[in-house]
Symmetry: C5
């Protein structure tokens, strides 16, 4: 299956702004979770209907609405319209094959990012699309399935750890993106160790599996790069954005986030370069081993083929072969054979093949 | 035949602004089709003469004139002049080897794009040139032959699906371009699956056909890239264009189109990288297999050539060869042969060749 | 001889602004040809002296002075001074190893371009330097030798075809450059067909000549690129130039010229990429064939070397070899030989080598 | 262990602005050292508490506070807060896996650089993070462990060598960065000599160790590049920075520093190119040697295999083999053998294999 | 010895602005030579002391002071201070491992360039640093050793050839740089011819020396590029510089110089590409030849090994071998051998190996 482009149901001609779910359906139900907080209070709820969300539109407290499951396009559209989003946002949320990006609208910012998990058995990275809409005092996040890496963030809000409770929805958005990017670094560190370990294999006794492993890592790095590069681009854009949705005190954090994204991108590129180097070393080593194999063949052949020839001569049945009757012919024959063999060995020693 | 540059009839010295048809003639007659619509009404017609088109020049309703077949340069020129286009536009429409591009004129915008179809038998992509002229309340499209992917768009206009009937000619132009680019993605997804599937072959038992397949895909990807890259460039330019031919409410759609074009371009580049990786893996694997072949040869040779030599010695006809008369000579002879063979096998086992 | 840099007579230390002819002398005499035209009249002459040219300096009609042969530095300098050109222009005209470029001076624009011809026998591209000076109502062109691709342009002027007689010297300059660039495309189309045809050879039975052909095409493409890339750059610059020497109505034509130059440059790059791919395919194919050769060798060796060994054993002359006297020894011997051969064949069939 | 990305203790979800030590703990105690100087006086001290540092905040003399050991996050945070730094600075100081960078804050500039040392036994470069905070009349430096290359700078301050005592904290920061970058050049010169020396090995008799050495140098160069490229970038930015923390008279020195950083970066790139060339030469040479090995094998085989065959024929035991009884059969037999051998030798001589 | 980075005496910690001679000492004495000229007069002198130079500081005539030998840092510093140069200029002059660059100071411009000479025996390019300080009406040049390519310039000044005597010190600086860059072109032309000649060798019978030659040329081209690229950059900068040290009438000459530098850089890149192509052709050819060698081996083996086997069978000593007694056994035997050989030959002919 084409992992680098997701299967769409219709080839072309979708109506623009008409949301069509694209991707694998990863959860059956759509779950909604709300945390509403300010410096003093925190409240959590799991509303069953979309309408229950709308009361958070104009509060002074910060509201984080998280929605798991985006295949229910009707519900997503209802949320989107209730919060005054452009029709294209809905379309982007449900089409889970978007590139990471940021879009500015009058009243809100829209982000798409990719959350990464690593399936250690299949040795494959899986990506899940995270869409975020940042408005005045609210942040709505859309995930493809339940379960995420944001539990620590929720705990921090509940327990008032760090400055999160004193800051606005923009800071919350930053914290979520920071968590996502940190996860990239964590994964890359994990893969990086394995890639660096491959190297010893390469200079030792590499086989076809080594080749397969290099190839697999290359794919995963290309896959990661596809998520990180546009993410870095939009973080750069965001850190320079002149919008009243981003408070001044959040800006240094965005710059810091940009540093981390840059580091992640550079790490991907470093590992890609390293894998290319690995492949070259692998190939050189294969050639080296071919040379060794051929040396063995050549040495055996060059020594024994002439000897066999000499032996063959004295197997001839000519009636008149004077040597055959000489009394010391046989020892002399052995002497010749050994001499030829020694000459050949010396020849190969001089050539540095032994 | 040079697929990457089309045959021109005259080498040089064409009169600029003098339209000369370049390409294969893909249809015999020139067909004209008109849809005229606004929020309330839709009308369709197939006028036989060019003059019948001119009444749509100044209407308030949106008019989409589609013309199939561009080899009749006289007729194309008549249309172009009737709608006040620059002589170079006519030339570009009939020369079907144009790069995708956008040009601004005072009263209209001119676009050239490539529509892609895939011939699954020849495993070849075919491109057809689509030229569009966007004026105030009209859009004229020129195609090389009848039959296109725009039927769904016509249906949407007829049945008033989506917002198309409420929007202007600029939105119609966007919808057509969106359909074209969506088609790229659909095709790439199709090719992408095949390219990703190639990989398993590569690590298994690749042959010359695999090499041919990699090469073919490389060509098709280069061919696609040639169409997509300039298209992305002009969409970028269009999305930032300050022209009263583009309404404000169409702009978010153009940005979305830019995203899709960017995704298409990135997909092409991902697959090109993947094909290069495939070729490297292929080559490494060929080297691997050469090593295996040579190991087999070397093992057989290194075991049997010495044995043959030993057998050869005792085929010699020397009169005085004491061993020949020994009663246990023959079993000892076999013992020596087997010992030598075992020593060789052990040698190769230690070298890890078995 | 260094084709990519022309031989200069003096290593260094030429006096700047002092014209020194650099290149091969390609004609013996310097020929001058003048066409003077406006919408109503055309006149042609072949003046013998430089002074006869000066009367065209301030006319209202458009004057095209063409000079073939630039080795006569004195005459070139006389023309240049008479028309008020900077000393460096003279130097650039006679030094025929200039890069394509445009230079702005107060009263005129100076262009250097390369005209390309293809020597089908030597399979080599030859370049000739074309220098143009565009002033108010005059255009002076300098070519290295007689004979050019501009005859159709002269005919168009004489017969009043197209708009050329209504336009100024800037349009004439455009037409000449258009002819030059069109010629590139024509040549590239010719080479492109051959390059695309090479591909079938590659997957079939390539030999050393194929390698030589790839190499030759690579050189010619590098050579072409050296002329086209700077030409595209200066056309871009020209199309944006704010100078009263370029009329407003000529600008769309310059943009069109830029499109053609871009197409030419992209075609060169496409073919360069294709040639690199060709070389990779060639190498992979060479490796493939080595594998096939080695399989043949290995199969023959692995089957017959053991057989020869067995035959060798029974050629031994031991007195006590019980098998030799068995009545069915010989048929059994053949049976063993055939069995061994069949086992080996099966082994290779399983390995997929047959 | 992943050398290109350091192990973090928590995968994701760290609280931003909450300093978490990342890296190996390289020293047990945190040491603080202060030099306070102006043109007339110098004073040094080793305060035991953080509070003792705060008196230097507003002096007119220049104060350089150096802190060795950054694992004691509490103490680092106390210093940072005492000098009014942003929380993110503390985080960056203790996370020793930062990219080199510069950050502007209202009252101070923050730099991160990498100090390089070369472990000649392990043939590995080790990097230590150097963080610097430049404020008005003070510079605070943070190092991972005791011992540094700045002793000469301290001596210069103590002995009033050069202009350092007349200049401000910005000049001191420049001197330290200059020392760090100079160290890069010194190391690169050391590695460069070894890389250039490798070349002779390559054209001689390279083996697997040569391959390993090329690979190792490639890694170290990639590692160096990772430190130098961002350092060059921030020095470029710094040299253009419009901040009152940088005095006008320091600017030429910063431009000079930029030159040195550029030179270091170019040297890294030159050596990387050279190593890639080395690898290519290595591979070509391996192929060359394979050819030589195969020539030896082919020559021996092609000469002796036919000879063995001829000898084999006359070993046949046919009853009716007339040649066997000819009186001169045996000498003729030898004549044939020698003739065949000579013909083969000539054949190979013509092919230029001998 | 590291040719790409020069040996410094101290690793790090040099005092900035403190000149330390870096490089090989190439002359024993420091020579000073002065030419002072205007349109009417020329005077030359060889002052023994630095003080004798200072009278030229404020004259109206143009003064060119040339100093050979920069190891005497005291003297260089004295000159520099006398002419009011920044301390960093002195440091750059005596450190002969500078990158080509230009620096603007209030009263003067400072240039560093590399003069190239080619040692035809060692096949190595040697570079000598040329530092120039351009002030009002004076130009001071510093060279590493006596003897240069500027003698023609001096002659032009003495004999009033060209416009040099009418122009200022800026024109003199241009002439010297022009001479330096022209020298690059001259050298490149020389190397280029050899590189283009290599090609014929490559398609013929390349050996290890060819590989060494490609490698050597690659190095020299990298070395040249290191000097030319930054030179082109600063000439570009200079040609756009807004400084009253550069007169308006000198600007067209600087643009011309930029053209030449661009041409030199493009030539270097063309030859680098060509050398990479050469290496690829070399490798392909090595593979081709391996194939040929293996074909010879395979053909000989595949023909004679089966024949030897057949001969071996009839050498067997079985008592009951009916064929042995057949009267026509021996001719039939020969018939079989020849048939087998012919079949094999035909097999190889079909495979196109013969």
């Amino acid at each position: 299956m084409a992992r680098f482009l997701k299967k769409k149901h219709a080839p072309a001609g979708n109506i623009p702004g008409e949301p069509v779910f694209v991707g694998e359906k990863k959860t059956d139900v759509t779950e909604m979770h709300v945390i509403d907080y300010d410096a003093e209070h925190v409240g959590e709820s799991r509303p069953g209907t979309v309408d229950a969300l709308f009361k958070y539109r104009k509060t002074d407290s910060v509201t984080w609405i998280n929605i798991n499951g985006v295949h229910d396009t009707e519900r997503i559209r209802a949320v989107a319209e209730g919060f005054g989003m452009h029709a294209l946002i809905t379309e982007d949320i449900v089409n889970t094959d978007q590139r990471p990006k940021m879009e500015e609208y009058d009243d809100h910012l829209f982000f798409v990012a990719k959350m990464i998990t690593y399936d250690t058995e299949a040795k494959r990275i899986h990506a899940e699309q995270l869409s975020m809409v940042l408005g005045h005092n609210f942040l709505i996040t859309f995930q493809e399935r339940p379960g995420d890496v944001f539990e620590t963030v929720r705990e921090r809000i509940r327990r008032k750890k760090g400055r999160i409770r004193e800051c606005g929805a923009d800071y919350l958005a930053y914290v979520l993106m920071d968590t996502v990017i940190d996860n990239y670094l964590f994964l890359m560190e994990h893969l990086g160790e394995q890639i660096e370990d491959l190297e010893e294999l390469l200079l030792g006794n590499p086989d076809r599996n080594t080749l397969g492993a290099i190839n697999d890592f290359k794919h995963e790095m290309n896959y990661l790069r596809k998520s990180i590069r546009p993410a870095k681009e939009f973080i750069l854009h965001l850190s320079r954005l002149d919008s009243d949705l981003i408070q001044t005190k959040t800006r240094p954090f965005l710059k810091d986030l940009l540093d981390i994204a840059t580091q992640a991108l550079e790490a991907v590129d470093t590992y890609r370069t390293m894998l290319n180097d690995h492949l070259e070393i692998y190939n050189s080593n294969i050639s080296n081993r071919l040379n060794e194999i051929m040396k063995v063949l050549t040495i055996f052949s060059a020594i024994f083929i002439p000897l066999t020839f000499i032996a063959g001569i004295y197997g001839a049945n000519f009636v008149h072969m004077p040597e055959l009757n000489w009394p010391y012919a046989y020892p002399v024959f052995w002497g010749v054979l050994i001499t030829v063999a020694l000459v050949m060995l010396r020849f190969f020693k001089r050539k540095n093949w032994l």
